[in-house]
């Protein structure tokens, strides 16, 4: 075991002194992530998630529910998530969305309260609906606003139905007369709408629409690029095996009291350690420099260990099937790009249809699935199937590689 780690550690040191390799292993994925962040504007929101989503509220109602919704949106609990601006001009507010200056406009129409809670002595007014004018280029942000408004409306609807049921029961039991029903209903509705407890429930729901559940684009694309270049790294690791054979160091290793299996497993360990170091550096760097939150550290760590193991399997298979280091380089680059494409690394997600199924053969697909699950708030339990698939992939590929190495006599005495 000691010699295996020593061989692996030596490979790690050799690779990390190769400037060209370092550029491709570390600088390229990080630069591409930053580049995508700048292009999409997602890098501007610090903290790795959404914050200070710009929203405009046009409250034309100016009655109980209109004021209540405005207060919810401007509440201290949502102050980090939303940056709410009031405006009384609907056209001007819509123009702000059209000019891409805000994520959404919430328009509370005149008579909204009256449409929900009929006033005493008045029949129910015409149906007045809240309008949410969403900015399509801010899909996640505007969805968050929609979610908050829907939560509010659900609470109000619950209150209204509760009031109706209560009044109907009062009439049926003879406690109030038909003439008194309208006044009692209004009192119940008003109380429900104004009750602090309802607002707390609303606040609770908006909290669920939290930052960790709505990751920004970088949270998808950063692991994508890391996984893309991980495949390059493992092909590089596989290449070192053939380079050592070509340069005589592999033969020399076989003249020392080190067994062929120790040498082979040591080389695998080297590739694994290099991949692990690369992924760890990228994750830590993106967390520290870009503020990305990768999720449950233990789940992330296990995902790293299993993803790199599966990738190492592919790297070893590539080395086993190739004859020269040059062959590994060219096929390795093709594999990196192909796996990145079908495994969804370029998009930070998985692809639909046949391509998606093919992608399931790659560590990129499963790694991406795992990271995306974590980014959406998933935990270790949710990732168990992903870990299992990656481990199975690693085991199968490494066994096949060893079989081919032995058949080709790479480590024969």
């Amino acid at each position: 075991m000691k010699k295996i780690l020593q061989i692996g550690w030596k490979d790690l040191r050799v690779i990390f002194r190769d400037r060209a390799a370092l550029i491709l292993m570390l600088l390229a994925p990080f630069a591409m992530t930053v580049g995508m962040g700048l292009v999409t504007g997602t890098l501007s929101s610090s903290g790795g998630g959404l914050s200070q989503v710009p929203v405009v509220v046009v409250n034309l109602d100016q009655s109980t529910l209109g004021v209540a919704l405005t207060e919810v949106l401007m509440s201290p609990e949502l102050s980090q998530l939303l940056a709410v601006e009031e405006n009384n001009d609907v056209a001007a507010a819509r123009a702000m969305v059209d000019a891409d200056k805000t994520a959404a406009v919430v328009i509370i129409p005149t008579g909204f309260t009256a449409s929900v809670i009929p006033q005493a002595g008045q029949s129910s007014s015409a149906d007045a609906q809240i309008e949410l004018y969403k900015n399509p280029s801010w899909p996640i942000s505007s969805d968050i606003v929609q979610s908050i408004v829907e939560s509010f409306l659900n609470e109000v609807e619950t209150g209204r139905i509760g009031g109706q049921v209560a009044v109907a029961q009062l009439i049926a039991s003879g406690l109030v007369s038909q003439q008194q029903a309208a006044e009692v209903g209004m009192q119940i509705g008003t109380r429900l709408a104004n009750e602090q407890s309802n607002m707390q429930t609303l606040t609770l729901n908006t909290r669920q629409t939290s930052v960790s559940e709505e990751p920004n684009f970088l949270m998808y694309i950063a692991p994508g690029f890391a996984l893309l270049f991980l495949m390059y790294t493992v092909s590089l690791g596989g290449k070192t095996l053939l380079t050592e054979r070509q340069e005589g160091t592999l033969t020399r290793l076989m003249t020392t009291p080190t067994g062929p299996s120790q040498v082979l497993v040591g080389k695998m360990a080297g590739t694994y350690m290099i991949g692990l170091a690369q992924m760890t550096i990228l994750i830590v760097a993106s967390a520290l420099l870009l503020g990305l939150r990768w999720g449950d550290p233990l789940a992330v760590a296990i995902l790293l260990l299993t993803t790199v193991a599966a990738a190492t399997g592919w790297g070893m298979l590539l080395a086993a099937l190739s004859r020269t280091p040059g062959q590994v380089s060219s096929i390795g680059m093709a594999m990196t790009l192909l796996f990145g494409l079908v495994g969804g690394s370029f998009f930070g997600g998985t692809l639909p249809g046949v391509v998606g199924y093919i992608g399931m053969l790659t560590p990129n697909y499963w790694g991406q699935t795992g990271f995306n699950t974590l980014a959406r708030g998933g935990d270790l339990q949710d990732l168990l199937p992903v870990y299992a698939v990656l481990l199975a992939m690693a085991a199968i590929l490494l066994v096949i590689s060893v079989f081919i190495f032995r058949r080709k006599g790479l480590l024969q005495r």
């Binding site: 000691k2 020593q6 030596k10 040191r13 050799v14 160091t249 076989m254």
Partner: protein, 314 residues
């Protein structure tokens, strides 16, 4: 002295080609034994089998009581190998290389550190220990290459043509190192196609050609095979057809053997002083311009020439 290596009828075939054909020899502890032969004679294949890198087709070798066919791991602990090609990690420094290879020989901790420092001193590279191998000259790389083989203080050191392709100064340094190592008690199996190296270094020499061991002995024993005969080398210009001259010289009464090598005609004669006038006269009559003449007393070159009918570098 006890036997440290006993090679028993070693054979290695690659398909229809027999690279090593029934080679047998012994090496005593403390001895420098050279395998002398031209390129392709089977020297490296023999070393590879003794290093447990190649499995013999038949035969065996016993190193310090361990069979190379059955006890590879034990054999590897006894031997040190200096391969013909430089086998080092160019991106690592000399110290890092030596440390890694020391670990592969099972060394560790302070013992490894101490030994690495000793070897660095021994190969004269202590002051360049931190520099990457890729910044070294060819000769310096050769020295580190040798140093790796010495790390675990092997009882038997295999050196496979360690002076190929290096400058005269580095070559001199390596030959001196071998002598120093031997003085310190190390047993060395040295392969070369340079007769001078075998003569300078070896207690005994095994001459190999076409996979076969054709003679073994001390230099004195081997040269006795050619008696008191001397070797005459006639240096002739490039691109000259020497066959007519060789045919004519064979007919002279003083000439025992004639061959050609590297723009030279090589003759074995009983007495150079007697043979030289008629030889030069014949060359002059046939219109050959002789640029220079070397006269050598009996040596391994002459032995090889006599035993194989060709020069070592043919």
């Amino acid at each position: 002295m006890s036997l440290i290596l006993e090679v028993q009828n070693l054979v290695k075939k690659f398909g229809d080609i027999t690279a090593v054909d029934g080679v047998s020899f012994n090496i005593q502890e403390g001895e420098v034994f050279s395998l002398l032969g031209p390129n392709g004679a089977g020297k490296t294949t023999t070393i590879s089998m003794l290093s447990c890198l190649l499995e013999p087709t038949s035969g065996d070798a016993i190193i310090d009581g361990h069979s190379v066919t059955r006890d590879a791991l034990q054999v590897k602990g006894v031997i040190g190998v200096v391969p013909q090609e430089i086998a080092l990690y160019e991106e690592l420094s000399a110290r890092e290389n030596l440390t890694f290879w020391g670990q592969m020989y099972g060394l560790g901790g302070s013992a490894l550190k101490t030994r690495v420092n000793e070897v660095l001193e021994q190969i004269g590279l202590a002051d360049r220990a931190k520099d990457k191998i890729k910044t070294y000259s060819g000769g310096m790389k050769r020295r580190v290459n040798i140093g790796v083989g010495l790390l675990h203080k092997p009882r038997l050191l295999f050196m496979d043509e360690p002076t190929v392709g290096i400058d005269p100064q580095s070559r001199r340094s390596i030959l001196d190192s071998v002598k120093d190592l031997n003085k310190a008690g190390m047993t060395v199996l040295y392969t070369t196609h340079y007769m001078e190296e075998a003569e300078e270094l070896s207690h005994r020499v095994g001459i190999v050609d076409q996979g076969k061991m054709i003679a073994i002995g001390t230099q004195k024993e081997l040269t006795q095979l050619v008696g008191e005969n001397e070797t005459l080398r006639l240096h002739i210009g490039e691109n000259v057809d020497v066959q007519p001259l060789m045919d004519a010289l064979k007919e002279l009464p003083y000439v025992i053997h004639v061959s050609a090598s590297d723009n030279m005609v090589v003759l074995i004669v009983p007495e150079a002083d007697d043979a030289l006038p008629p030889v030069l006269g014949m060359a002059d009559r046939l219109g050959y311009k002789i640029r220079s003449v070397d006269i050598q007393e009996p040596n391994l070159e002459a032995v090889f020439l006599k035993l194989t009918g060709k020069a070592l570098r043919d």
